[in-house]
Symmetry: C2
Subunit: 308 residues, 2 copies
């Protein structure tokens, strides 16, 4: 019985050490060095090559080394009886929520404009919004989006939330899939915390922007492919959107020549909304591995049909 | 019986309209046009000239048109039997707390550095701190500081608080006046929310900076005079402090030639941590005025000896 780590182009050895610290009895290999393929029953993968996860006859679980699991769901070479799970640590939940709330504060309080004023030695009070002026609309109310919505509502924000099925979250007005237009009409700051699926691919486009309440803003920490990049630029240039905060991009790192870099209205961070703590992640894997061995239900199982 | 507004160099007429909307029966004058000095029993003042508030024989209450009241406390021409109050509205409490929490997030998540990276087309992940890495130390636990400390603790921050007398705040480790050194030793991000008094004047100096836990940061939204400006620059240049967020300054607006403008490690905002909502402020004044007429206790009375 062994755990296999597959993460090409990434130094994963320190992570194996964390796993072994979490439980010295674990047997952990790093792909492609696999002494015995039959012993592998739990794989943790990031950017795995296709036709790799079908080489292990006793594989039971494939875990994503991150909150998104689309690289596993889209890999049709993974046998259907392998359970796919994602790893959600407390630090991840907290950091994603922090990033969204920080970005909303920075929008309200003109942080980027004041930063530029400092560079230009300008002392000028700008019009600032209050929490009641700008409604926050969270798209995706899974563990991460739900946590963010709940906390921001408790902190006095006007929070709306949209998900496939209607959710109940204290202090948050929620909408189901078919109520998307109503949700957008009541939202100033649209926040994508959605997983990448066929339905969310290219979801954030000009049609979406045009339905938002004014002034309108976008925060994307879901996946780069959810955003139609040219529509964002068009919407900013036409005043349909006032600003955007982006942590994820269609191609990362963002190319030097990409027009996003030149827009003052776009805040860019290099996919840092959440940086997993390797210790916490190792503990989460060890925990799930033991649950598998004991025949208990695994945590955060992906529904391969739904795609999240 | 009338209310007098004294705010030289400021267009205070719209504010009178808000007061009259709050209560159409109020009789409100704007200095220096005072038809009958004997009728004035409630003054709302900002930057009043000295020897002004002693001209009204029936004056009972002087209110500050802001959260700080040092301009009234230091004005020895105000008769001793006049009660000085400050005006604290719900929006003010919330905005001050928001500013502090936003600034702490921006410190943790390298917002200023990422902003510069965007300007320079640089995609580079920087080391980021977690909430458990950086303890927040709030100096001043009055209504505003207490609200901030309580909310940040509820949001998962490691919060310490220092005040003249020992306060009890859920989730916050508090220190009394004599425990200042212990408080500083446990603080990474020192936040001044103190009123300006003889004791807090020039309190934030090199001696204070040297006692902070590393890495150390300063957020000042108290009063500019609390900070020894040359000590801040010295501490930043020597690596004793990593960064500072300043909303208040010894002289405002900050002069074009001031060295603060040239430091990347300093975030400057033009005294906007809280911008009062004139409607809320008018309601607060009308409420206190009626309490005075009814003989009820006034809200937020200043102890002139303590200075806050």
């Amino acid at each position: 019985m062994s755990i296999l780590l597959i993460a090409p182009n990434r130094d994963i050895k320190p992570f194996r050490d964390h796993l072994i610290s979490a439980d010295p009895n674990l047997d952990v290999d790093i792909w492609p060095a696999v002494p015995d393929k039959k012993r592998v029953n739990f794989i943790v993968a990031w950017n795995q090559p296709k036709n790799t996860l079908n080489l292990f006859p006793n594989l039971k679980v494939a875990a994503s080394l991150g909150a998104g699991a689309d690289h596993l769901i889209e890999d049709e070479s993974i046998p259907q009886d392998v359970v796919i799970i994602k790893l959600i640590t407390p630090a991840l939940l907290d950091q994603m929520s922090d990033y969204v709330e920080m970005s909303c504060y920075n929008i309200l309080r003109n942080s980027a404009a004041y930063f530029r004023q400092r560079q230009k030695t300008i002392w000028k009070v700008l019009k600032q919004y209050t929490k009641s002026d700008l409604a926050v609309g969270i798209m995706g109310l899974g563990k991460i989006g739900g946590h963010t919505a709940r906390r921001m509502a408790a902190n006095g924000w006007n929070v709306h939330g949209w998900a496939k099925t209607k959710k109940q979250i204290e202090g948050v007005r929620t909408y189901k899939e078919s109520e998307f237009s109503q949700f957008l009409m009541n939202t100033n700051i649209a926040v994508s915390m959605l997983p990448l699926t066929d339905e969310t691919d290219q979801l954030i486009d000009l049609t979406l922007f045009k339905q938002l309440r004014h002034p309108a803003f976008l925060i994307n920490i879901g996946r780069g492919n959810q955003l139609v990049e040219e529509d964002l630029i068009y919407a900013l240039d036409r005043g349909i959107l006032e600003g955007a905060v982006l942590d994820v991009f269609e191609n990362e790192p963002l190319q030097k020549s990409h027009p996003f870099w030149n827009r003052e209205a776009i805040t860019i961070t290099p996919h840092i909304a959440a940086i997993s703590d390797p210790k916490e992640l190792a503990a989460e894997i060890a925990n799930n591995y033991k649950r598998m061995l004991s025949g208990l239900n695994l945590k955060n199982i992906i529904d391969r049909k739904k795609g999240y």
